[in-house]
Amino acid sequence: MAVMTGPPELDPALVRAAQRGDRIAVADLMDALAPYVGRVCGPIALHDGPDAAQEALIAILKNLRSLRDPAAVYGWARAIAVREAIRVARTTARAVPAELADVPASGDPQLAADVRDVLARLTPEHRAVLVLRDLEGLDEQAAGALLNVPAATVRSRLFRARRSFRKAWSP
């Protein structure tokens, strides 16, 4: 089971000040959101994580005025971060995902039960589903809505992604 430590509380007044154009508040808000955005972008974009997090934060801060409810800032930022991470990971096409059956068996010294190794075998879309379900705790409906795919697609992607972890770690 994933460790789902929620992001820290954010003062709505800080969000509103940033929305009004206070650049110190914008910088403070970026500092507050950056760890959370980095946690979402890292597993999806992998090597391109820093670029993805940078692009996600730019999109978040540029569109801040469109956020109606400051209390919803993390959920709103998460949706942008997931989309940017998938986009950046797709664009660079650095990793060509292998068939999931090719995931190394446990005991393979190259694998070393490394999460990153297993994630690298998945497509960005599969990684996004894992992040939303297992790290963020979203249900299939919510994850599907965020990714703009049906819940059934989320379910099948999740099945394949989790199977790759089982293959990697089962004795």
Binding site: I24, C41, G42, P50, V115
Partner: protein, 161 residues
């Protein structure tokens, strides 16, 4: 549920990447970065000496006086060459500085990099309408951000001598 441990890759954005974000999200500011061939501590010691070095980097500035400070937050009073005055809110910590008055925004960031220190400078006006002008202004005003970096490099050579 599949066992997922705490080894998931996470991303931490360094101060220069954060300054790129701030620049991209702030309409109409001049932004530039450069690799300065000097150690981070040397570069940041000079750049963060706002009262002495900022007026040398920004020649329109006659003085920049910090009047109160608490933690990494400060209030500074600036005076321009033409006698104009402005009160600045400042956030200053290692590798990061953001300054804002009613009409101006400024920022500096630095990170160690192979070959020296990557240094970023941001500056611009906070005026209504900058959002519309930003696409036109951005390429034209980049040299305005490179000049203060060049002056800082000159100062580093003087300080080292």
């Amino acid at each position: 549920m599949v066992a997922v441990n705490q080894d998931w890759p996470v991303v931490e954005l360094d101060p220069v990447r954060r300054m790129r974000v701030l620049a991209a999200a702030t309409p109409g500011v001049a932004y530039a970065e450069k690799l300065i061939p000097a150690p981070f501590n040397t570069v940041w010691e000079a750049a963060s000496d706002l009262e002495h070095e900022l007026p040398r980097m920004i020649t329109d500035l006659r003085s920049f006086e910090i009047t109160s400070a608490w933690g990494e937050r400060m209030i500074a009073h600036a005076r321009g060459r033409l006698g104009q005055r402005a009160r600045f809110d400042v956030v200053l910590r290692p590798g990061w500085c953001v300054m804002q008055s009613r009409f101006l925004i400024g920022g500096m960031a630095a990170v160690p990099e192979v070959g020296g220190t990557r240094f970023a400078f941001l500056g611009g006006l906070r005026l209504p309408g900058m959002r519309l002008l930003a696409p036109v202004l951005r390429p034209a005003i980049r040299p305005l951000a490179l000049r203060p970096i060049g002056r800082l490099e000159s100062r580093l050579r003087v300080r080292a001598a």
